[in-house]
Amino acid sequence: MRVIIDRLAKTYVDRHGAAVEALSDVSLTVESQEFVALLGPSGCGKSTLLNAVAGLLPVSAGEVMFESPPSGRPLTAMVFQEFALFPWRTVQGNVEFGLEELGMAAAERGRRARVLIETTGLAGFEARYPHQLSGGMRQRVGIARALAVDPAALLMDEPFSALDAQTRQLMQEELLALWERTRTTILYVTHNIQEAVYMADRVVVLSRRPGRVLAEIDVPLKRPRTEAMQTEPGYLETVERIWSLIKDQARAALAEQ
């Protein structure tokens, strides 16, 4: 499924009428089966963009369209930056949530959820509540919940931010392997340039607030990705190029706060 973001703008207006322009005129197309990483300084509207694609907020202008949606699969599923787990549901219950809404039978739900609990390394914690888990484990529950519904487009908002370096690396491998198998369209927000280049086909760099598309950079690495590629000149050059693009933006954004 293709995701077309067309001249999207979002201005938040609070109760007192104060306006924050988060996104202005963002156009972006994520091709079918493409893995796109979204980079940009803090507060530039990355989460806003993902929420707009998932249909979770009213946009101010422009629109989001899905081209050739598959039947029988949910269009999108989201991994939230803040995890957004249901505190009253166990790990198992959280992972099953989306499957419930799809109307899947209980036994099938249970089986499906257990597979993803395994994949995300949460086996043995099925009956725990979110408050009994570490930050990294909570984040993995959020990932499992999204993967469980097998969406046509997967929206991931800094999905590995709370993981330690080793777990992060393992989860990157898992996600890449899963993507090789399913070729789900992925829109992936991250702060980490190395991660973006290592995982994605294309890296989209947003400007500081209000977010606009600053650059779209194709990653010149082959699939499947291997760790060894992180020493290839193509990888290093791309990382360098994005860093120099982002440096000034990040500095200005920081000074603004």
């Binding site: 599923a77 249901f86 809404e101 979110p130």
Partner: protein, 271 residues
């Protein structure tokens, strides 16, 4: 030059949060109650207070036991519990339904909040004569006044709980395909549950008060009737039995609601 070990200064880290600890002091809890009863008994024995005004605890206990054996007490308690149960069930079901509707739907909020704000401050006891006029002297008017007293704390607490539901969790549910009613059932209600249980606690106190008031009019049974009737014939010991039963009812409902809270809200940290 080596530093001499005896000169090395060491500071032991102490737990700076120690004064925040709140030990249970179980013994004190029991002693307080026993102390009151002993004082009460001593006052009676010393002849400081005539038995007609303040019967001794042992006398109350004996009278209570006799009434229990004769079945008299159980009749009163049974009648009261039945009224309480009906009033509680009806009042809290309506209160929760109205609270959810008013908290979730803008139209219901616009219509409901001014109505509730206008009717909530009325002391429910003042409505008892009106309810009797409408529903007659029988059970329905008694149950109705209790239900009314339970309704308001339930509706108001449920409303507050619903408003507090985390918008992020609601969005997460929608992101996974939840519609309006799924969101209410799977996000809004569980979010509001702690407030709903707190509402039950408030309602329990109100219900007891209204029960006694309602049972003072045109009934032949119930703990409220027992207290009033015993007072009229100056049977002070019986009267005290009724009061002790009311106190026990309050304690029991508090304990029961605590159990209910732990059963309903297992995800609360420390629960």
């Amino acid at each position: 030059m080596k530093p001499r070990p005896t000169m090395t200064e060491r500071i032991h880290v102490v737990d700076g949060t120690r004064f925040l600890a709140r030990p249970e002091h179980r013994a004190l809890r029991v002693l307080g109650v026993i102390g009151l009863v002993v004082l009460w008994e001593a006052l009676g024995r010393a002849g400081a207070v005539p038995v007609l005004f303040l019967p001794s605890p042992l006398g109350v206990l004996r009278e209570g036991w006799d009434m229990l054996r004769s079945g008299e007490l159980l009749v009163h308690i049974g009648a009261s519990l039945q009224r309480l149960a009906w009033g509680f069930v009806i009042g809290s079901a309506l209160g929760i339904a109205v609270g959810v509707a008013v908290g979730f739907f803008a139209v219901a909020e616009a219509i409901g909040t001014p109505l509730i704000a206008a009717t909530f401050p009325i002391p429910k006891i003042a409505l008892l004569p009106l309810l009797i006029l409408w529903l007659g002297l029988g059970e329905p008017s008694k149950i109705a006044v209790i239900a009314l007293g339970v309704f308001f704390p339930m509706a108001i607490n449920t409303y507050a709980g619903v408003r507090q539901a985390d918008p992020l969790l609601i969005r997460a549910a929608v992101a996974f395909g939840a519609g309006r009613f799924s969101v209410i059932r799977k996000v809004v209600l569980p979010s509001a549950l702690p407030m709903i249980v707190a509402g039950l606690r408030l309602a329990a106190g109100t219900a007891l008060l209204l029960l006694v008031a309602a049972e003072m009019i045109a009934v032949e049974s119930g703990v409220g009737f027992l207290v009033l009737h015993a007072g009229n014939i100056m049977a002070t010991t019986k009267l005290m039995v009724g009061i002790v039963v009311l106190s026990l009812l309050g304690v029991l409902s508090h304990w029961g609601l605590g159990r209910l809270e732990r059963a309903l809200i297992p995800w609360r940290a420390g629960a």
